[in-house]
């Protein structure tokens, strides 16, 4: 069974760590290895390409829709399997998927991110892979994205939520 939690207070971040035992040191390396594999897929499938994102938003290629669509289908099937068979984590914990509650931010923030996605040709993941691929100037884009995150955090209480 997957436990579903009610809305978390804002001081808990999105995509939180639900593991009860805090991992330290080398045991964290496994996440880096998964990240490496993930980054390789990003580059090899050209998902980090500004051109591919332009193709997608111009509806001129199926590639990106195929990638995102088949990723979602794989994710749905995997989560259903975990749910149905009550599969536990490797340390024996119950798998926890926090609920995402509706907020106006999903509309307004989502739209703002979409504008930026088409300009930069990157969502946050590909930003890191673009830098690794040698487009080092994207580091500036990353810094600016961090600044954008900070500004949101600073003024979030004044914005419709």
């Amino acid at each position: 069974m997957i436990t579903v939690e009610k809305e978390r207070p804002v001081e808990v971040c999105d995509a939180p760590n639900s593991q009860e035992n805090l991992e330290k040191g080398l045991s964290l390396l496994k996440y880096m290895i998964i990240g490496v594999l993930f980054g390789i897929v990003f580059v090899k499938a050209e998902i980090i390409s500004w051109f591919r994102i332009q193709e997608m938003f111009r509806l001129q290629s199926f590639h990106m829709y195929g990638v995102i669509g088949s990723a979602i289908i794989t994710g749905i099937i995997s989560i259903q399997i975990i749910k149905r068979f009550g599969i536990k984590t490797i340390s024996g914990e119950k798998v926890n998927i926090p609920n995402k509650e509706f907020r106006k931010g999903q509309i307004i923030g989502g739209f703002i991110f979409g504008l930026g996605w088409a300009i930069t040709g990157a969502c946050p993941g590909p930003l890191f892979a673009q830098i690794g691929s040698g487009f080092t100037v994207v580091f500036v884009t990353l810094l600016s994205a961090i600044a954008g995150t900070w500004v949101y955090g600073r003024f979030s209480h004044k914005m419709p939520n």
Partner: protein, 193 residues
Amino acid sequence: MNQFIDWISQPWPWYVAGPLIGLTVPTLLLIGNKTFGISSSLRHVCAICVPAGIPFFKYNWRKEMWNLLFVLGVLVGGFIATNFISNPNDIVIAEQTKADLSAIGITSFSGLMPTEIFDWNNLFTAKGLLFFVFGGFLVGFGTRYAGGCTSGHAIMGISSLQWPSLLATIFFMIGGFVMTHLLMGPLMSWVGF
């Protein structure tokens, strides 16, 4: 071995890449009860480096170090893929996209990214302001306001059948369409293309 390298050096089709990306969801859940999401890493950087007493950045970021290692891995993965198994040929994109982009001033179509945009020489120009500073700001601000990006909402959120994530994804796409079809042309000519 060389044949293998040649084989994986080709661009990977969507039906290989998509499922591999999708498998990140159960992998992270099962190896450590982690929810897939990348834009959170930007928030952790703020929480670590410039929390400035802001409540939004007051949480136990030490617990989220895995996320920063994950994105560091993505960067290293980008390096490995580009330096050891890169596609020797030019990227193949739709002819119509090439034509449309040529019409707004893009002329080089060889690499993964247009070099006439993503170049340090553009940093202190209007091009740099638009593509790096402004674009990056919208990505960081928008994803946090939305509570996630393509990974956290489109892939993780929809995979776990959460309708707010579907809604967010729809608005990601609307934003992208508006930028591409309505604003991109004027902005490109304004920055000197």
